[in-house]
């Protein structure tokens, strides 16, 4: 058999090339394991921190309907974080370790959540643009090579499409409302457009790990490919709303059958990644505070469970 002459690593790659899923107990290269732990936990952290900018608006939502929807969406994000943490745990890391890395600043989360949510229209933009960008990233990951990750993503994607639609609906309602409401929608779009384009990560030539990740099928499109798709998807939607994306270079390119668009401000991108965005300190501070203030609850639940178990032992 040919497989006998292949190294363990070659066999592993052959399975991936044949679209066979890798499962937790299968052999895998250390680098694959490490990269996945980093990628999945980073994604989980993003879901967790992603609750904060929206949590800000739950008490300020303009109607009971909007408030229920927003609550539901934030609850989904907590759920998405949990699916993903569980998937990462199958690779041998622990929940405690991942949270410690988030809280110490060692682990990253999506930079988009380091921007503030200043008006109700921001809830529209977060759903429509930010979740729209997230979906573009996530849908291909439903076919990623690591089984538990792919299964978690299927679940996430099923739930995420409601998030995007509710955001678009908020935008549409504002755009069909009073001139002040439409202006609010435009103002929010002006602030969120560029940071959303940054969500796809650095340019391909500045993303040295892309090739390896694509080989392992834990990434299925490059950053620039996804960014282009996003622009092509969103420009007509903004036009439908009667809004203008804040980029004078956006123009349909007949030859490419795609939109040309301007250059992202990469200095800003790197500044936010490195911790100097508008809300980095706030977001992390809120996370750490919630974790620390919840410590007694976690301990009390353990004590309660232990007490009940002890009572059962005595009763038996």
């Amino acid at each position: 058999m040919e497989t006998l002459e292949m190294t363990q690593e070659e066999q592993f790659q052959a399975r991936i090339d044949a679209d066979v899923r890798i499962e937790p107990k299968d052999w895998m290269p250390d680098a694959y394991r490490k990269t996945l732990i980093r990628q999945i936990s980073q994604h989980a952290h993003s879901e967790l921190v992603g609750m904060l900018p929206e949590g800000n608006w739950i008490t300020r939502a303009p109607s009971l309907k909007r408030k229920s929807i927003l609550l539901s969406k934030v609850q989904d994000e907590a759920g998405h974080g949990l699916y993903l943490y569980s998937a990462a745990e199958t690779l041998g890391t622990t929940r405690d370790q991942m949270l410690a890395d988030l809280h110490s600043g060692k682990a990253k989360y999506s930079s988009i959540f380091n921007y503030p949510t200043l008006s109700w229209a921001d809830m529209g933009c977060v759903g429509w643009l930010v979740d729209g960008a997230a979906i573009l990233n996530q849908v291909p990951l439903c076919r990623t090579s690591y089984g538990p990750y792919a299964r978690a993503m299927v679940r996430v994607c099923k739930e995420e499409s409601f998030h995007q639609r509710q955001g678009f609906e908020i935008m549409q309602t504002l755009c069909e409302g009073a001139p002040e409401q439409k202006a609010m929608a435009q103002e929010a779009l002006n602030r969120w457009w560029w940071p959303t384009l940054m969500m796809f990560g650095p340019k391909d030539e500045d993303s040295p790990n892309t090739a390896q990740s694509m080989n392992w099928r834990i990434k299925r499109f490059t950053n620039d490919e996804l960014r282009q798709k996003f622009v092509d998807m969103m420009v007509p939607q903004a036009e439908f709303l009667g809004l203008t994306v804040p980029d004078t270079q956006v123009k349909w390119n007949e030859a490419r059958q795609a939109y040309d668009f301007g250059e992202v401000n990469w200095d800003e991108f790197w500044a936010v990644v490195k911790g100097n965005g508008m809300c980095n300190r706030d977001r992390l501070g809120a996370r750490v505070k919630a974790h620390e203030e919840g410590a007694w609850v976690r301990e009390a639940a353990m004590a309660h469970a232990a007490k009940r178990a002890a009572r059962q032992v005595v009763a038996a």
């Binding site: 499962e23 107990k25 299968d26 052999w27 539901s72 609850q75 989904d76 759920g79 949990l82 699916y83 569980s86 745990e89 622990t94 929940r95 405690d96 299964r151 978690a152 679940r155 739930e159 976690r298 301990e299 639940a301 353990m302 004590a303 309660h304 469970a305 232990a306 007490k307 009940r308 178990a309 002890a310 032992v313 005595v314």
Partner: protein, 106 residues
């Protein structure tokens, strides 16, 4: 006192809540199916958390939880040899047998 000591030991030795595997029956008549895992202090909390994490959209009517440490699994490295006995027994499938066209109800 013995109780308290036992409780203390549990708390001291476990910094995070134990891990549970979650199984959901989506509707009457179907099997419980593995959907994922979560952390909880005990079985009761695991079931409640499973409801919140895995059935927010009416995905289930019944939940099982099993502490992950109680799940024993076959070894994937042995999969080939382990499942080999079934490989050459095609006669276990109905399609192995020729049935004349004129025979009905078989």
């Amino acid at each position: 006192m013995k109780h308290d000591a036992l409780i203390q030991t549990v708390i001291m030795t476990q910094s995070e809540w134990p891990l549970w595997e979650v199984f959901i029956r989506s509707k009457q008549g179907l099997d419980h199916k593995h959907v994922g895992s979560l952390h909880a202090a005990d079985a009761q909390m695991a079931i409640q958390n499973a409801r919140d994490v895995y059935t927010r959209r009416q995905e289930g009517i019944s939940i099982w939880v099993v502490e992950s440490k109680h799940v024993h699994a076959s070894n994937p490295d042995d999969a080939e040899a382990f499942f080999d006995p079934a490989n050459d027994k095609v006669y276990r499938h109905p399609t192995f047998y020729q049935v004349p066209d004129s025979i009905k109800h078989m």
